[in-house]
């Protein structure tokens, strides 16, 4: 099949790639643009480790056609840190030992960011709900829940009011 050009913003930079019309966004991110932040877990929308934000909305990159992202703004875990300064969620994940093998971590961080972006004061139930689509085999989830709650507490006060 003929390749089609796709252009979108990736973590704040304009990027372009040639994609097969049937290529997923995950394939284009990883193979085309060398962004290995989002992981390929199941490839069928059941594990969450490929999670990205598209125009601020949480999406599964394995189920999103790359061509449908034309002109969109895509955020992945790779763009989460501000230069050498980690995002509060990344710091909290480290402090709370919320990663073991780390395979779920990109999706967990992205799902958590989507939550805090719209709700800076989440309850435990909100956090559980936000990561319910992300499978973790190692941590038993509790350290991840604790990390997200802790990160929310470190957000600047004006964002939490």
């Amino acid at each position: 099949m003929a390749k089609v050009p796709v252009q979108f913003r990736l973590n704040g930079s304009d990027r372009a790639a040639f994609a097969d019309p049937a290529d997923s966004l995950l394939t284009v991110l990883r193979r085309g643009l060398n962004d290995f932040g989002p992981k390929y877990g199941c490839g069928q929308g059941t594990c969450g480790t490929c999670s990205v934000l598209i125009d601020g909305e949480l999406r599964l990159a394995c189920l999103t056609l790359a061509a449908s992202c034309e002109g969109a703004s895509v955020e992945t875990v790779s763009g989460m840190a501000d230069g050498p300064n980690l995002h509060p969620l990344q710091n909290a994940f480290m402090e709370h030992f919320a990663a073991q093998c780390g395979f779920c971590t990109p999706g967990m961080l992205t799902a958590a960011k989507a939550l805090l972006d719209r709700n800076p004061n989440p309850s435990r139930e909100d956090v559980i709900d936000a990561i319910a689509g992300n499978i973790c085999r190692c941590t038993g989830y509790e350290p991840i829940i604790q990390a997200i709650l802790a990160a929310a507490r470190t957000l600047p006060a004006q964002r939490r009011s």
Partner: protein, 344 residues
Amino acid sequence: MARFRGRGMASVNYPIGMNLGGDPSQALIHSNPDGKFTVALSAIDLGQGMKQVTRQVAAETLGVPIEDVYVDTADSDTGPHDMGSFASRGTHRMGNAVIAAAREARGVLLEAAAEELEVNAADLVTDGKGNIHVKGAPSRSITVRATAQAAQFKQGKTIAGRGIFLIPLSSVDPETGEMNPNTAFAHACLVADVEVDDETGEVSVLGMSSAYELGRVINPKMVEQQLVGGAWMGISHALYETPEPYYPNPDHGPRDFNEYLMPGPGDLAPYSITILERPAPDGPFGGKGPGEMCANPVLPAIANAVYNAVGVRVNDLPITPEKILRGIRANGGAKPQARRGGAL
């Protein structure tokens, strides 16, 4: 049409590592010209903490800062041989191999420093901050970095060490069948409280409490991390996971994560852990390692709790609602057993 509470308990006497034909681990350490050390080993770290334990054990033995130790577990083709990351053997077997390698490398490091300071190596000590000095005379000192550079560029010496730890094959006594494949045992006891619905057969784990004896705890936060994650996996094995629900018939088996059930973040039970430390005489700094036993006691404790709640003894895992309902029916109704102990 009621929910019955039950409590179950299980204890574990867990052999660290297994021994099918002798159980060796090897490690190699060398210094780099910047005075930092690389430890090469083939024990793979999938998140269990092998790299961190190796780093701590190597830094402590070498007498250098932990930041100055890099662990390379990249390649089991080219790295020194190890039996693998299984049977909770990593900390114990590899930790000992790393100590042996670090001791040898430390010996060469002190020899090289002695040559530079024109003293006897036996009179030298490390301060753990990157310096080597004469015992009782801290001013007569040299940095590890300067020593590494002198060794490499002046003395023509490699600051390196080889380590192996072997639990030899224990042969079976033909008379008694006895053998002794293990040298270190870890221990745990876990209590689980559950609630069983006699109409749906569903089990919810209300809470768990455990005590683990793991030898010297080399990294307390990572031990806690493993115990928490492993207990979740134990609940998952006990109540949810099966690749072949009608074994050996593969029909109706799960095909993906929609059908292969595992508890999610909304199905967690409060869990309190107490860690006890009885250093193992042959462990690295007394360490044994948590490993698989994080999950082990959860399964029998939950099975016992289900029996305690409704009188149904499920003998094959997972303990599904269907098996519980069939058991309740066969018994002519839920048969709650005597309750023991107070609040969890």
